[in-house]
């Protein structure tokens, strides 16, 4: 079985983010990056398939040179090889552009199973996984919290609104987008890190994938007009006085609001 795992490198959750001068995205100079946490669950799921039997795990990511670190980490955790789409022409792609690139890689790799995170922590669109499945013409399931993978099919449990769950069977090839907390993600081992440098990383350009002019900033259908920090809310009331007085006022306010 071949499993393709799509990884995105996103700003570290502790990183301080500043908005770019054009207001359309964040400045990524000096920002620490990490693998999108949703995608780590996809990687872990793929590695479990590999642990359970014969499987090749291929990881793919799009982005500049810094993305190599994410791929190396995935290889250190146990993935077999990596595909790095490293091309300035891919920069600024909207979800459809990203999906086209990933689908093109999938078309070359012909995996039995594509695993992704449910969404990315920076974009939050949750749009790429179903688009990849649509472009590939394969079934998909999103918000998956549990998978049972057999030779030719996958049974998944996925989250619905209001705490309800749904069980879905998919025939392979298919795409599964994993929800956060779907499994316990392993750590890379020091031995794995050392072995990772011997594993192949295949660099691709947009042209290599037959997508010249079809992706990137010039081909977007979704335009981010601006990102901004919301103004701080008005109406905060400062309680003043001794500690006892402040506590008394606070309890009064809570009672007023009917919370006690």
């Amino acid at each position: 079985m071949k499993v393709l795992v799509c990884l995105k490198q996103v700003p570290h959750s502790d990183a301080r983010l500043d908005i770019r001068d054009d207001g359309a995205w964040i400045k990524d100079d000096g920002v620490k990056f990490e693998i999108n946490s949703y995608d780590t669950y996809a990687l872990e799921q793929a590695l479990r398939v590999k642990d359970a039997g014969e499987a090749e795990v291929v990881v793919v990511s799009i982005g500049p040179d810094r993305v190599t670190q994410a791929l190396r980490t995935a290889l250190g955790m146990g993935a077999d090889r990596a595909v790095h789409v490293n091309d300035p022409e891919a920069e600024g792609s909207d979800p459809l552009g990203v999906a086209k690139i990933l689908a093109a890689v999938a078309a070359e790799e012909s995996p039995d199973l594509i695993l992704t995170g449910f969404m990315s922590e920076d974009g939050n669109f949750a749009a790429v996984p179903p688009m990849v499945a649509r472009l590939q013409g394969i079934p998909s399931a999103t918000a998956v919290v549990q998978c049972e993978i057999s030779d030719s099919s996958v049974r998944v449990e996925r989250e619905l609104e209001g705490g309800a769950m749904e069980v879905v069977d998919l025939e392979m090839p298919c795409l599964i987008a994993l929800q956060t907390g779907a499994n316990q993600v392993r750590y890379a081992s020091l031995k794995g890190i050392m072995q990772a440098k011997k594993k192949p990383v295949d660099a691709k350009t947009v042209a290599d994938l037959g997508l010249a002019g079809q992706v990137g900033a010039s081909a977007v259908k979704v335009v981010i007009e601006k990102i901004y920090r919301p103004d701080k809310g008005e109406g905060a009331e400062m309680l003043e006085g001794s500690t006892g007085e402040v506590v008394s006022q606070l309890v009064g306010k809570i009672k007023e609001l009917g919370l006690l």
Partner: protein, 356 residues
């Protein structure tokens, strides 16, 4: 010549940092204090799964076959996390000592088990350093020096007496044992083991110092007085800057010492002593400054500052106090036991000693 760590070495460091942040938060350190042994064999096994105890174990015995230049960054992370496990004795001292002893049977018996996380080894530093043996209560094997020889001692054959320690994570024991021909496994350079232990402590002190500075900077940025963060006052920020300068200065010495140990240069011991003394001074200075910056809350049990303060103090005493190491440097300088080149100095016109 390459003076920087490689990308792989930095990835190893990041891997260990991620692991310890996830698996050994300060709550876990405190939880260990409440257990009888103060150690977790389950956690030790996890640590072995990512490769820490076996980092110096030769590949033929299931380890990673790396050297102290790789280990030093890993040990920094252990200090940053205040890791309460016997990494120094087992991974940094016992493994190279077992290799150095050259006893094939002993190596085959213990090195694979260490790499797999199935064995903990406690090592005596020798009476000139300390009469106590750390972590003897959880050790599967004791390597104890006596009269120029090393003895491999079964823990079941010794009597342990626990000693009080300032750091609840530090477990010290006096070991009552009887050396004999049956326990003697060979001779080894006492100084080499001391150097490895001291280097490991110095590396951990860097992590301890870094963590104390980070905690203090975070607190000074958050705590306000007169309407502004206290970190904006020169009296506070300059002290923290001094901490950072001391830790960074010590870092260079620790990395140099790691190189000297890994390559067994003839200035190894003096490099290690300089690193240990300086790193300890930096970490203890950071601890004292951190306490001042935090003020009263820094004295409370609930505030985590003391976890790292105590570690700074306990590491300062382990594998030779700062006084012991300064004396060793002084002896080398005054007695001329080491060439001037050992200290990075060469007198004008003086012939250069051949490289080690």
């Amino acid at each position: 010549m390459e003076f920087l760590f490689s990308e792989d070495q930095r990835m190893l460091q990041k891997t260990v940092r991620d692991f310890l942040e996830g698996e050994c938060p300060v709550e876990a350190v405190r939880a260990r204090w409440e257990t009888e042994s103060g150690r977790s064999l389950e956690f030790w096994k996890k640590l072995a799964e990512i490769g820490v105890p076996g980092l110096l174990v030769p590949e033929a015995h299931g380890g990673l076959g790396m050297d102290e230049l790789d280990l030093v960054l890993v040990l920094e992370e252990c200090g940053r996390a205040a890791l309460p496990e016997p990494v120094i004795a087992t991974a940094a001292v016992a493994v190279p000592l077992l290799c150095e002893l050259g006893d094939t049977e002993l190596q085959e018996a213990w090195l694979p088990r260490i790499a797999a996380g199935d064995a903990i080894v406690a090592v005596g530093a020798g009476s000139s350093i300390s009469p106590f043996v750390a972590d003897a209560h959880v050790a599967d094997l004791l390597l104890l020096p006596d009269g120029g020889a090393i003895h491999a001692v079964d823990p079941a054959a010794v009597s342990l007496t626990a000693q009080p320690a300032n750091d609840p994570s530090q477990k010290l024991f006096t070991v009552d044992w009887t050396p004999g021909p049956g326990t003697r496994v060979g001779t080894a350079d006492d100084a080499a083991s001391i150097d490895r232990g001291a280097l490991a402590c110095a590396a951990q002190q860097l992590g301890v110092g870094d963590r104390l500075i980070e905690m203090s900077v975070a607190y000074a940025t958050q705590r306000k007085q007169f309407g502004v963060p206290i970190g904006s006052f020169q009296a506070v920020k300059h002290q923290l800057a001094n901490c950072a300068v001391k830790v960074e200065y010590a870092r260079s010495l620790v990395y140099r010492a790691a190189h000297s140990v890994a390559r067994a240069t003839r200035c190894r011991s003096v490099d290690v002593s300089m690193a240990k003394a300086q790193a300890s001074q930096a970490a203890v200075f950071a601890a004292k400054t951190a306490l001042q910056v935090h003020g009263a809350i820094g004295y409370t049990w609930e505030q985590d500052l003391h976890v790292w303060m105590r570690r700074a103090w306990s590491l300062e005493r382990a594998w030779g106090s700062s006084t012991w190491h300064r004396r060793r440097i002084a002896d080398a300088v005054i007695d001329g036991a080491l060439p001037a080149e050992s200290f990075g100095y060469s007198a004008p016109g003086a012939p250069r000693a051949a490289p080690a």
